[in-house]
């Protein structure tokens, strides 16, 4: 804003004020409120009235094996889900980007899973995974294979929650990356074609570097969503079997809505937020890096 009158920045600030205020109300305030509540005992045992208990909730959190297990599980879910979504989303975006007949309705169709409410979708997957009657087990039966407990095998059930999540959100990632692909002028690719580049070289040398900001956006957005995964596990597995798919959000929800332990629930919420902050900061630092120079 160099060279502009001094009050321009004041005007800018004033113009941004409503948005900042809104952000504060919907985001900062509840978070601060939770942070405060995490220093209070507030449960059925206190008649829900908050009474300061210092760092007791945080001390409990550090020693809570279930929290650490859920944190690791949530992280695993988020990293694998988002990783798959980015790869599949990119592939889908590349296909949708190709000119061709019926591309319009193909795009609309691709968005369908994303438009479905999570709970409806989770119920659908619950049926798909049903043992013994669901479609997947019917298919296994057709091939003479024994039924598989998609939702009753602690070692693998998380993978099937990932699959359901990937199915739902890949179209969203694809659409975002498609917008990115469409922002790349066609001549850039044509120029590389004239240089004799193969499709994979074009992808590596041109498309991916130019998609970087879009990939970052999708990554940050999806990572935040996946770390907060709730409805999907709540409906699909309820955190089972044996707590193996419980997410941090589900644990926080149980504490608040089932156990009426608001102090500890707030602690879990703040801890989840800090984890999210840490991860997105790490992701941002990683992706902020400029692409490597090819030559000096």
């Amino acid at each position: 804003m160099k060279g502009f009158p001094m009050n321009t920045s004041l005007v800018n600030t004033l113009l941004m004020l409503p948005a900042l205020l809104l952000l504060a109300i919907v985001f900062a305030w509840p978070l601060l409120d939770s942070a405060w509540l995490s220093t209070q005992a507030s449960s059925v045992l206190t008649g829900l009235a908050p009474t300061a208990n210092g760092g007791a909730n945080w001390q409990r959190l550090l020693g809570d094996a279930r929290f650490w297990q859920d944190a690791a599980g949530t992280l695993r879910f988020a990293v694998v889900s988002v990783g798959l979504e980015l790869v599949l989303g990119l592939a889908m975006a590349l296909v949708l980007h190709r000119p061709g007949r019926g591309r319009g309705w193909l795009r609309a169709l691709a968005l369908l899973p994303w438009a479905l409410p999570s709970t409806v979708l989770a119920l659908g997957w619950r049926w798909i995974y049903n043992d013994p009657y669901g479609p997947l087990n019917s298919l296994l039966k057709l091939f003479g294979a024994p039924a598989y407990g998609f939702l009753t095998t602690p070692a693998t059930t998380w993978l099937f929650t990932v699959l359901a999540d990937v199915w739902k959100t890949t179209p969203f990632v694809a659409l975002l990356l498609l917008a990115g692909l469409q922002s790349i002028p066609a001549e850039l690719e044509e120029s590389l074609v004239l240089e004799g580049a193969s499709p994979s070289q074009i992808l590596r040398r041109l498309t991916l570097p130019l998609l970087r900001p879009w990939i970052s956006l999708a990554l940050m957005f999806r990572l935040a969503q996946a770390l907060g995964v709730f409805e999907l596990v709540q409906v699909l597995t309820r955190g089972g079997p044996a707590g193996s798919t419980e997410s941090l959000a589900l644990y926080a929800y149980l504490n608040a809505m089932r156990f009426l332990d608001f102090g500890y629930s707030a602690t879990l919420v703040v801890a989840t937020f800090l984890l999210l902050l840490l991860l997105t900061a790490m992701g941002w630092l990683l992706l902020r890096r400029r692409p490597l120079e090819i030559s000096r």
Binding site: L37, V44, L48, A49, D131, R238, G240, A242, A249
Partner: protein, 438 residues
């Protein structure tokens, strides 16, 4: 992931903003639909969706017959836990739109401790439950007060196939032997299906089984938590051992580990199992479903280990008066009518609900028209099992579910799982005691 606080009046802020917002959004239309009628007192009741439908004609006739008192029913969700979330979401906001809530028996102590309920004995009299079947009276009082009036007398029951056996098994050994024989003969794919998913239904199954093997989950005592658990007793371990044995030996499908009521009922109704443990409502579902087992289903009380007494878990629904109701007397009158013998009789005839009044079990018309009545009475008189009456029940139930579900989906031993459940319960209760003394 921002947290949220509800207004701190009188409840503290709760976490999970989106969740709460969602609940408020569900609540709002219900409140908006409430049309005030001039000069009449309106009592608002929040109930799970199935109850809204089943009582709609009765409520309509009540409203026709009463000029000064109206009942308005708000539709809650179908799922019990979703219903609890909705109710709690509303209560946490402090400004509940309802006078009354139809509650599951397992919520009572928690709601009382949260200060959300009003004692009923002053409004309905100390003898309000006197004329009810003994088993239906349990689970309604806590800490010396009456907090809810039961509308139904549901208990866990054993469904069996009349085409495959003449008499239902009475013991766990019999049930297992019949199952194995039928499975070996190729009559059924599985013997016994029940609810093994990690959710409240599994706690109901476990509660029955612990008692069926001579143990008990909860010993009432003193302190804020109101007692202690006995999950590492021989009876409790034997119960867990039997359930896991059923799964590992193939009497029950491994899939029970993800079965809630729907899934287990589906499998039994398809004719793929000889026995099913479920609630009374399933009878109508099976009959209405028109599947291969229609007309071939008998209902009996749940089994016990040889030499022990059997008792189904009490799963009643009852009406409670919410603190903050502007007209408790009017609400009490509605509760009296809603849970009274006439309403219950109509519901038995219409819906096949299990009644709570002793007189209804003697009613010749009901006896003639409702085949389950005799076994429901028997189940209620045998002393149904009540889930631990403590504000910390939800936590106790949660950690037991995780242990049992883990046991039936993995390798461990029942003794280890129950020892773990017991120690975790003890830690939880101790921390409660610690807060108590603080």
């Amino acid at each position: 992931m921002p947290g949220s606080g509800a207004r701190r009046r009188p409840a503290p802020g709760a976490a999970l903003a989106g969740l709460m917002l969602g609940l408020v959004l569900i609540l709002l239309p219900a409140g908006l639909l409430a049309r005030p009628v001039a000069a009449a007192t309106t009592v608002r009741v929040l109930m799970p969706s199935p109850f809204v439908d089943s009582t709609a004609p009765l409520v309509a006739s009540f409203n026709r017959e009463h000029q000064d008192l109206r009942i308005e029913v708000a539709r809650g969700p179908l799922d019990t836990e979703a219903m609890s979330d909705l109710a709690i979401g509303g209560l946490l906001l402090g400004d509940t739109a309802y006078d009354m809530l139809l509650m599951d028996v397992s919520w009572t102590a928690k709601y009382v401790a949260a200060g959300w309920l009003v004692p009923l004995e002053g409004l309905l009299g100390d003898d309000a439950l006197e004329a009810m079947v003994p088993g239906a009276r349990t689970g309604n009082a806590f800490g010396g007060h009456l907090w809810r009036m039961p509308l139904t007398g549901d208990t866990g029951l054993l469904y069996w196939r009349t085409d495959l056996m003449a008499e239902p098994p009475r013991t766990t050994t019999e049930l297992e032997a019949v199952s194995r024989r039928l499975q070996a003969e190729g009559k059924v794919r599985w013997g016994y299906v029940w609810q093994g998913r990690q959710y409240e239904g599994l706690s109901c199954v476990m509660l029955e089984m612990i008692h069926a093997f001579g143990g008990q989950w909860w010993q009432t005592g003193s302190g804020r938590a109101g007692g202690q658990t006995e999950l590492d007793s021989p009876g409790a371990i034997a119960a867990a051992d039997w359930l896991v044995h059923l799964v590992r030996s193939g009497v029950s499908p491994a899939a029970v580990a993800d079965f809630a009521e729907n899934e287990s009922l589906q499998l039994f109704a398809a004719g793929d199992a000889a026995f099913l443990r479920i609630w009374p409502y399933a009878w109508r579902e099976i009959e209405r479903g028109g599947g291969p087992v229609v007309g071939k289903v008998g209902v009996s009380t749940v089994v016990s280990a040889p030499g022990f007494r059997s008792g189904g878990t009490l799963g009643t629904w009852g009406l409670s008066l919410l603190a903050g109701s502007p007209h408790p007397e009017a609400a009490a009158e509605v509760i009296r009518w809603f849970t009274g013998p006439e309403t219950q009789k109509a519901l038995v005839l219409d819906q096949g609900y299990a009644p709570t009044w002793a007189s209804l079990y003697e009613d010749p018309e009901l006896k003639r028209k409702h085949p389950l009545l005799a076994v429901q009475r028997q189940a209620l008189e045998q002393g149904p099992e009540v889930r631990p009456l403590t504000p910390l029940y939800a936590q106790l139930s949660d950690l037991l579910q995780r242990q049992i579900n883990g046991l039936i989906t993995a390798e461990g031993s029942a003794a280890d799982a129950m020892a773990m459940a017991q120690s975790q319960s003890a830690v939880l209760l101790e921390s409660a005691a610690g807060q108590d003394s603080a």
